[in-house]
């Protein structure tokens, strides 16, 4: 009720400037940036919350809640001043305690924030006065503002820094963002109203997130003008939407890439020859063609990244060379199958997520390619829970097909460092560990670039993963929506400038 009254107060007197309805596959269960796990939650957070800094149109860090930041000479601490006159949606002022609370809540292990990794570089944070905080880092930082994009939460809405996922805040969130959460509706939609006191002055009066779990309907609903925005268009719907004069397509290039990961705890796949053989048997452009267009990759960065090493050549599709490698690894070909020295067929399982768009097509295509070359392949399509249990906990897999998405920092430390939290394939290379550690500490952008390009070259050769591609991806919006600019990751960052006719 309070929310509704407040929302009314915030929106009263403002011109009604149309409403924007967009579709998500699943309604978020939690609207709390501490526990953001899906892109649909991240996008909704972008509408309701703000960070200390956010990307400007050139993707440089620009102050949002912060007014300025001053880095100490030793680069081991920084003082940050907040803008004056900022208010939460409930009318309370934004204070340094909110920054201190947010960072401490993210760091609190009993909160188990999904965003905890974003603040591991901050050793501690303290309030200096009524307008500023000081942050102490675990190591030298060159551009801390680039890492201060996480959303700030109102300390006054929580009892302590141990925050539970079940906290009532999850459905009654209070942010500083351009839209105010009004209601979670019976049909799983979420309604937001313009925050007319937001410094970013949003032009659209109402935003509605609708849950449309059947992807087949999403494009249709846009064509029928039941929606104004479709976040991600399926490749098969591109032609229909492109031919509709009431719809405009926009590139939505998330910083993500697809890969085939090899389980290096597996007795066969721990040998690089076997991994290379499988890579050489795989015709990557042929896997990509049926599911869309994109850039094939040779390493763990997108091609437009400064860390992408363009000197590294892609693994060719070379089945004969693959056969030589398998022979060197002790396998023999009996005319139909590759047989190991133990007399067993070389048989592998490829697992992928059921809900990963078009992954099933890729896996089946890859199964066909490898089986044609004498490797028996079984495929598993896993639910998220099965994936977590089998791939992450039990390491019960041979190959996995999946994708990683990154924010602007493109930090691959957790994926390739031998102690990295996301290194579920079990990759270990001392050189890479050292390079990744140095890259994290590098205060010279050129040095960081060189270090990560070297990482790119090494992991390309070591093949903990076969890097596949970045997919061209599009959003579709009604032509009624004007001034559209889409943030490459969070989608809604620049939405305050959008308007609806």
């Amino acid at each position: 009720m309070l929310n509704a009254l407040l929302g009314f107060a915030l929106t009263i007197g403002t011109a009604q400037a149309g409403s924007l309805r967009y579709a998500e596959d699943h309604a978020p269960a939690i609207v709390n940036p501490l526990f953001s796990t899906t892109m649909s939650e991240a996008r909704l957070n972008e509408l309701v919350f703000e960070g200390l800094f956010s990307d400007d149109r050139e993707l440089r860090s620009a102050p949002r809640l912060a007014q300025r930041i001053e880095l100490a000479e030793d680069k081991l601490s920084a003082t940050l001043w907040l803008k004056d006159g900022l208010h939460w949606h409930d009318g309370k002022p934004v204070v340094p305690d909110d920054v201190v609370f947010t960072i401490n809540a993210m760091k609190n292990r009993y909160t188990a924030s999904t965003e905890g990794a974003r603040v591991t570089w901050i050793d501690k944070v303290e309030k200096v006065d009524e307008n500023s905080v000081i942050m102490y880092f675990t190591g030298p930082e060159v551009a801390p503002q680039d890492k201060l994009h996480f959303k700030i939460l109102p300390a006054h809405r929580f009892d302590g820094t141990t925050v539970k996922r079940s906290d009532p805040f999850r459905t009654k969130p209070i942010g500083t963002g351009p839209w105010v959460m009004m209601s979670f509706n019976d049909d799983n939609s979420v309604s937001l109203q313009q925050n007319s006191f937001s410094p970013s002055s949003p032009k659209i009066s109402e935003v509605v997130m609708r849950e449309v779990s059947d992807k087949n309907y999403q494009a249709k609903l846009l064509i029928y003008q039941s929606l104004e925005a479709l976040v991600r268009v399926l490749p098969r719907d591109l032609a229909a939407l492109q031919n509709d004069r009431r719809i405009e397509l926009y590139p939505y290039q998330t910083n993500s890439w697809w890969y085939v990961g090899f389980n290096q705890k597996d007795a066969r796949l721990k040998y690089v020859r076997v991994r290379r053989a499988i890579s050489l048997m795989t015709d990557v452009p042929n896997l990509l063609a049926p599911i869309g267009t994109g850039d094939t990759l040779t390493g763990p960065f997108v091609r437009s990244s400064p860390y992408y090493n363009h000197k590294v050549s892609a693994w060719p599709h070379a089945p004969d060379a693959a056969a030589d490698l398998l022979v060197e690894a002790g396998y023999t070909f009996n005319g139909r199958h590759w047989m190991g020295s133990d007399g067993k067929e070389l048989s592998i399982r490829i697992a992928t997520l059921q809900n990963l768009e078009t992954a099933q097509d890729v896996v089946i295509n890859m199964q066909s390619q490898l089986q044609n070359r004498g490797i028996t392949v079984e495929v598993d399509f896993l639910t998220i829970a099965e994936w977590k249990e089998r791939v992450w906990r039990r390491k019960d897999f041979d190959l996995v097909l999946s994708q990683w998405s990154f924010d602007r920092n493109e930090d691959v430390y957790e994926h390739f460092h031998s102690k990295g939290a996301r290194n579920f394939v079990g990759y270990s290379n001392e050189n890479v560990d050292k390079l990744l550690e140095d890259a994290r500490l590098a205060d010279d952008p050129q040095l960081k670039k060189n270090l990560l390009r070297e990482v790119h070259a090494i992991v390309h050769n070591d093949l903990p993963m076969r890097f596949l591609w970045t997919l061209d991806s599009y959003s579709a919006l009604s032509v009624k929506v004007k001034n559209v600019e889409i943030h490459p990751f969070y989608f809604f960052t620049w939405t305050p400038d959008w308007s609806v006719e």
Binding site: R165, S166, D186, Y224, S226, L227, A385, E386, K388, W392
Partner: protein, 313 residues
């Protein structure tokens, strides 16, 4: 009679306990658990397992759940709507689903009796037609209906034959059209109309040929009320058997038609391993099925004197 009532109540209670246990078992056997779905959840697994009771053996969890349910406490959601009381999560949605199920049963009963009354004892093309209409499963009928209705409506709108209806486009816009469609499809699809029609027709033929109807006819009195009264027990049994099928069909229809009912919640809570919510819905589904069967039993006992005699014996 008392013994029969006790038997019905005990049977209903066992159905509920069994259904809850079955859902718990199925979810426990499914790979993964709710903690797997929380990024970083592994770090605090012992804490969460204790908080959610996952550290207890399955039988203990089942008994605890039944005990809580007996006290009217369905627990709190752990992942679908974290922290929200299950009753609050499923309450309004369950009432909606119950309404749709009752409406579908009523429609199924009305249409099957009306059709059977006409076709019983006749050779009719209606049987063939019903078989064709009813053969498709409800999810397929739902997709076809939504697609056809949307396409035709949009075509008419583009040619200015009509304006944009409030409910357009299905299933996105909240409207009663979605609920009506769900009710009709449940009462028709997955063989419902054919099966019910044939069973009612067979019962009707048997009743019309019975001695007491012949006697009434010989006396020159109207047989309508007599036939209708005697049709009640078999009709009640048929509908009670159909209640479980309808509940299953509604789970699918609610997903396709974006109806936020108990079925849709069951689907999502099962995917997110939210045991309390899934078991809460299972409890309601079991009560629905057990209630329908009990009601059918009571109807048979009340209408058929032979049942009363066997019960008192």
């Amino acid at each position: 009679m008392v013994r029969r009532v006790v038997r019905i109540v005990v049977s209903a209670a066992l159905t509920v306990a069994g259904a809850v246990g079955l859902v718990l078992l199925m979810m426990a056997l499914a790979p993964g658990d709710p903690i797997d779905l929380i990024p970083g959840g592994e770090a605090i697994r012992p804490q969460l397992e204790a908080e959610w009771g996952l550290d207890q053996p399955l039988v203990v969890r089942w008994l605890q759940t039944l005990g809580r349910m007996a006290r009217g406490d369905l627990g709190t959601s752990i992942s679908y709507r974290p922290g929200a009381p299950v009753l609050e999560v499923i309450g309004a949605a369950s009432v909606r689903s119950l309404g749709w199920l009752l409406a579908a049963l009523l429609l199924a009963a009305t249409q099957s009796v009306a059709l059977a009354w006409y076709t019983a004892g006749r050779s009719s093309w209606i049987r063939g037609l019903l078989r064709w209409v009813s053969v498709a499963p409800v999810f397929l009928l739902a997709h076809l209906s939504v697609h056809s209705i949307n396409t035709i409506t949009f075509w008419g709108m583009n040619l200015s034959y009509w304006g944009r209806p409030e409910w357009f486009a299905l299933p996105d816009q909240p409207s009663s059209v979605r609920a009506v469609l769900a009710v009709v499809l449940l009462a028709v699809g997955s063989g419902a109309v054919t099966e019910l029609h044939l069973e009612v027709e067979s019962a009707l033929t048997r009743i019309r040929a019975s001695g007491y109807v012949d006697a009434a006819r010989a006396r020159g009195s109207s047989t309508f009320r007599l036939v209708a009264w005697n049709l009640l027990p078999p009709l009640a049994s048929l509908l009670a058997n159909r209640a479980a099928f309808f509940a299953g069909g509604l789970v699918v229809l609610e997903r396709v038609l974006l109806l936020n009912g108990a079925g849709s919640i069951l689907w999502q809570s099962a995917l997110s391993h939210d045991y309390p919510v899934a078991m809460g819905v299972a409890l309601l589904a079991a009560i629905w099925v057990a209630g329908a069967r009990s009601l059918a039993d009571f109807t048979r006992t009340a209408v058929d004197p032979r049942m009363r005699e066997s019960a008192s014996w």
